[in-house]
C-alpha cells in the first residue's frame, strides 16, 4: 500500500477530528464574547458568577443544553427533523476545514479552497429549510422559507465580491492568496468595494443582526428552531456562532492578510514559531471582527424582509458586478 496515501488519510482524519473538536471551544468563546460585549453596551455586568469574569458561563450552558429534554413534535417528520441540525452544524464545521489559521495550520490545503468554502457554507440553507419544513410549525415554515430566500439571494453578491479578489490574486487557494497579500499588500487596499459588499453579505449569510430575519424572535419566535429543544437546538446554536467565527476568519483571510502581522517584519518566520505567530495574528484579527459583529447586534434593529431582499438585488449585486468588471479590466490592461 502506498505509504503517502496512508499518511494523507491519517492526516486528513486527524485534521477533521481537530476541526470538529475546535468548533466547540470556538462557539463557547464567541458566545461568551457576545454575552459580555452586549452587556457592556447595555450598561450591565453580564455573566460574572461562573469562573473568573463568568468565563465558564457558556460552558455551563452547553452542559445544560445536553441535559435538557429532547422533544420531537408529534406531527413532525422525524427523519428530516433529526437530520436538520446535523446538516447545519456539519456545513459550518466542514467549511472550517479550509480556514487558513497559519502557515502549516490549515486542515486541508485545498487548491480550490475558496470554491469549496462557499459551496459547503451554502449547504446550511438546506438544513434550515428542512428544519422549517419538518417541524410542522408555521413559524418554522416561515423562518425556513425566509432563510432560503435570504441566503440564496446573498450568496450571489457574496461570491461575486470574492471573484474580484480571486481575479486579482490569480488563485483559489487560501494559502497562496495570503502569500500574494504578503507581497502586494492587503487586499483591503486593492478591493475596498468588494470588502464592503462581502461584509454586508456575510452578515446576511450567517443570519446576524441586522439581517437575522430567519430567527426574528419578535416575529417568528425562533424561526426554524422553534420546535427544537435540547442538543438539537444546541447544534443550531453552535453552528450559528461557529459560522460567525468562520465568516470573520474568511473575511480577514481575503481582505486583511490572514495570518500576516500588520507590519512587514519579521518578513517570514519558519516552522513552529511561524505557525504560532500566524495563529496569534489570525485570532486577534478574527476576534476583532467578531466583536464588531456583536456590537452591531447591540446597536441596530432588524431590517425587514423586503428591505433585505431589495438591498441584495438592487444594491449589492450591481455593485459587485461593476466591481468585478473594473477589476477584470484593470487586470487585463495593467497586466497585474
Amino acid at each position: 500500500m502506498n505509504i503517502d496515501l496512508l499518511i494523507g488519510v491519517l492526516r486528513f482524519l486527524l485534521a477533521t477530528t481537530l476541526i470538529l473538536l475546535l468548533t466547540v471551544p470556538t462557539a463557547f468563546v464567541v458566545i461568551q464574547m457576545e454575552l459580555k460585549i452586549i452587556a457592556g453596551a447595555q450598561l450591565r455586568y453580564g455573566p460574572n458568577r461562573i469562573g473568573p469574569w463568568g468565563m465558564f458561563q457558556s460552558t455551563i450552558h452547553g452542559f445544560k443544553v445536553l441535559a435538557k429534554e429532547d422533544h420531537i413534535p408529534d406531527q413532525a417528520d422525524r427523519a428530516t427533523f433529526t437530520l436538520a441540525p446535523w446538516m447545519v452544524y456539519m456545513a459550518a464545521a466542514m467549511s472550517m476545514l479550509v480556514i487558513p489559521f497559519a502557515p502549516g495550520a490549515i486542515a486541508v490545503d485545498f487548491n480550490i479552497g475558496i470554491v469549496y468554502f462557499f459551496a459547503v457554507l451554502g449547504l446550511s440553507v438546506v438544513g434550515l429549510l428542512v428544519a422549517g419544513w419538518a417541524s410542522y410549525n408555521k413559524y418554522s415554515l416561515l423562518g425556513g422559507l425566509r432563510s432560503a430566500a435570504q441566503m440564496v439571494s446573498y450568496e450571489i453578491p457574496l461570491t461575486l465580491s470574492v471573484v474580484g479578489v480571486v481575479v486579482l490574486a490569480g488563485t483559489l487557494n487560501f494559502r497562496e492568496l495570503i502569500e500574494w497579500q504578503r507581497v502586494h499588500g492587503w487586499m483591503l487596499i486593492w478591493q475596498p468595494v468588494a470588502l464592503v459588499i462581502f461584509y454586508v453579505a456575510s452578515l446576511a449569510e450567517i443570519n446576524r443582526t441586522p439581517f437575522d430575519m430567519v430567527e426574528a424572535d419578535s416575529e417568528l419566535v425562533a424561526g426554524p428552531f422553534t420546535e427544537y429543544s435540547g442538543m438539537r437546538f444546541g447544534f443550531f446554536f453552535f453552528a450559528e456562532y461557529v459560522a460567525l467565527f468562520i465568516m470573520s476568519g474568511i473575511l480577514i483571510s481575503l481582505f486583511f492578510g490572514g495570518w500576516l502581522a500588520p507590519w512587514p517584519f519579521p518578513d517570514q518566520l519558519d516552522g513552529f514559531i511561524g505557525t504560532i505567530y500566524g495563529v496569534l495574528w489570525f485570532f486577534i484579527k478574527t476576534y476583532i471582527f467578531i466583536a464588531v459583529a456583536v456590537l452591531l447586534r447591540a446597536t441596530l434593529v432588524r431590517v425587514r424582509v423586503d428591505q433585505l431582499m431589495g438591498m441584495a438585488w438592487k444594491v449589492l449585486l450591481p455593485l459587485a458586478m461593476v466591481n468585478l468588471l473594473v477589476t477584470a479590466a484593470a487586470v487585463l490592461v495593467f497586466k497585474l
Binding site: K138, Y139, P210, D212, D217, T299, V301, V303, R304
Partner: protein, 424 residues
C-alpha cells in the same frame, strides 16, 4: 347515609361530564381525530361555526392564505394578546385581535369594594401607569363625595403621575426597538424606569403597584429619600433620555422600519377613538390636561405637542417630546409646591350620596377615564373604566392589511398597548 340532591344541569341533562364541559367551552361535542383538523390550513380556526360576519371573513381562507397565531404566548405581544394574522406568504391580509387572556374582572371587583379599597384594585390594570390608574378614580370619588384634596396633595399627585409618564414612555421606546430586534434600548429604558421606581417606592412604599392615592389626598407626604433621589435623577435624566434616543432616532435602519409604517390620519384616529400620544402623533392637538383641565394642570405652563406624520416614527418622536415635556412639568411642580396637609378629612368608610361622577385624565396611553355611580352604599353601584390601550388596539386591524408580518409587531408596539389595561 347522606341524601344526595342531584342538581339539574342548566345546559343539558343528558350529556356526560366531558361533553358538558366541551359544550360550555364552545368546543365541538366530541374530540376530533388528530388527522382531521391538523392540516396547516385549519390550525388556529375556532372549533365552532363563525358567530359573526367579521369572524367568517377572517377565518375563511382563500387559495395561498394561511392563519398564523401571534400569541397569546409569543415573545412580542406585550403580555398575552393574541393576534390571528392571515398571511399570504409574508404579506398580512387580515388581522383579528383576540382579547381577554388577562381579564381579571377588575371592574366587578371594584363594585364589591369600598371606595377606599377600589384604589388598590385598579393598580394592576395598566401596570406601566399605576399612578394614573389611581388618579382617575380618586378624582371621580372626590366628586361623588364632595371633598377636595389639599393643594399640596394635588401637587404631589401631579408630580408622581408625571414621573410615571416619564418611565412609561421610556419603556415604550425600548419595547418598540425590541419588537424590531434592537435589544439595547429596552435596557436603557429600564435604567430610567428603575431610578423613578426607586423614587416612587421611597414615597409610596411599593415599587410597582404603588397604592399611593387616597380619596381626598395622597398616602404620604414627600420625604428626604424621595427628594434626594428626585434631585439626583433630575441631574442626569436628560442625558439618559438622550442616550436612549441616540441609539434609535437617527438610526437609518430604525427610520426605514418606522417612517411611513402604520400611518394613521388624524381623521381616522378620531373616528377610531384613539387618544393620547397616538392621537397627537397624527396631528390632533388633544390633551386631556389642556382640553378638560384637572388637578393643578391649569396652573402649569405647557403646550400640547403634536407630530405631523401619524406613522410609527411620529408616535416614537411624540413619546420623546412628551418625556421632555414631563420633565419640564416636574420642574415647575417642584418649584411651586405649597406647604400643608396631604390628606383631607375623610371617614374610614365613605358613603357618598346617590349620584354619578366621571373623571378623565391623560394617562401615558391616552384618555383614561372612570365613571362611577353611587347608590348611597359604601361601595360603587357601577364602576366603569375606559382604558386607552383597548381603544388604540382597534386601529391595528385597520393598519395591517398589505403590510408584512414584521410590521405587525413593529406597528403594534408603536401604539404601546398594555394588556393589563386592555383586558382589565
Amino acid at each position: 347515609m347522606t341524601s344526595e340532591v342531584k342538581i339539574p344541569d342548566p345546559l343539558d341533562l343528558d350529556l356526560d361530564e366531558e361533553a358538558r364541559l366541551r359544550r360550555v367551552a364552545g368546543l365541538p361535542a366530541a374530540k376530533t381525530p388528530a388527522g382531521e383538523y391538523a392540516g396547516f390550513e385549519s390550525v388556529g380556526l375556532p372549533e365552532r361555526p363563525p358567530q359573526t360576519e367579521r369572524e367568517r371573513e377572517v377565518y375563511t381562507l382563500e387559495e395561498g392564505e394561511m392563519l398564523v397565531n401571534m400569541g397569546p404566548q409569543h415573545p412580542s405581544t406585550h403580555g398575552v394578546m393574541r393576534l390571528v394574522v392571515k398571511v399570504r406568504g409574508e404579506v398580512v391580509t387580515d388581522v383579528d385581535p383576540v382579547l381577554g387572556y388577562l381579564h381579571r374582572g377588575i371592574e366587578k371587583l371594584c363594585e364589591e369594594a369600598t371606595y377606599t379599597t377600589v384604589l388598590t384594585y385598579v393598580d394592576p390594570m395598566d401596570y406601566l401607569s399605576t399612578m394614573h390608574n389611581e388618579h382617575a378614580p380618586a378624582i371621580a370619588f372626590e366628586k361623588l363625595f364632595g371633598v377636595t384634596a389639599p393643594p399640596r396633595a394635588e401637587y404631589i399627585r401631579a408630580l408622581v403621575v408625571e414621573l410615571n409618564r416619564v418611565f412609561s414612555h421610556s419603556l415604550m421606546m425600548g419595547f418598540l426597538a425590541l419588537d424590531m430586534g434592537g435589544i439595547t434600548p429596552i435596557l436603557y429604558g429600564f435604567i430610567n424606569r428603575d431610578e423613578i421606581v426607586d423614587m416612587l417606592s421611597a414615597i409610596s412604599g411599593q415599587r410597582m403597584l404603588f397604592n399611593f392615592f387616597r380619596v381626598g389626598g395622597v398616602n404620604w407626604d414627600t420625604n428626604d429619600e424621595f427628594l434626594s433621589r428626585l434631585g439626583t435623577w433630575r441631574d442626569h435624566v436628560l442625558k439618559n433620555v438622550e442616550m436612549s434616543e441616540r441609539v434609535l432616532t437617527d438610526n437609518e435602519v430604525f427610520r426605514s422600519r418606522t417612517i411611513g409604517m402604520g400611518t394613521l390620519s388624524g381623521r381616522d384616529a378620531i373616528a377610531l377613538g384613539v387618544s393620547g400620544p397616538n392621537l397627537r402623533a397624527s396631528g390632533v392637538p388633544f390633551d386631556v390636561r389642556k382640553a378638560h383641565p384637572y388637578s393643578i394642570y391649569p396652573e402649569l405652563e405647557f403646550e400640547v405637542i403634536t407630530q405631523s406624520g401619524g406613522d410609527s416614527n411620529a408616535r416614537y418622536l411624540q413619546r420623546i417630546a412628551e418625556i421632555n415635556q414631563s420633565i419640564h412639568l416636574i420642574d415647575q411642580i417642584v418649584d411651586k409646591m405649597p406647604h400643608g396637609a396631604v390628606q383631607a378629612q375623610v371617614p374610614g368608610i365613605i358613603r357618598p350620596k346617590p349620584g354619578r361622577a366621571y373623571a378623565a385624565i391623560e394617562s401615558p396611553r391616552g384618555l383614561y377615564s372612570v365613571y362611577a355611580i353611587s347608590d348611597g352604599g359604601p361601595n360603587p353601584y357601577r364602576f366603569r373604566m375606559r382604558d386607552p390601550s383597548f381603544i388604540s388596539l382597534q386601529a391595528i386591524p385597520k393598519l395591517m392589511p398589505g403590510r408584512l408580518i414584521a410590521d405587525t409587531m413593529a406597528v403594534m408596539a408603536s401604539f404601546d398597548p398594555v394588556m393589563g389595561g386592555v383586558d382589565k
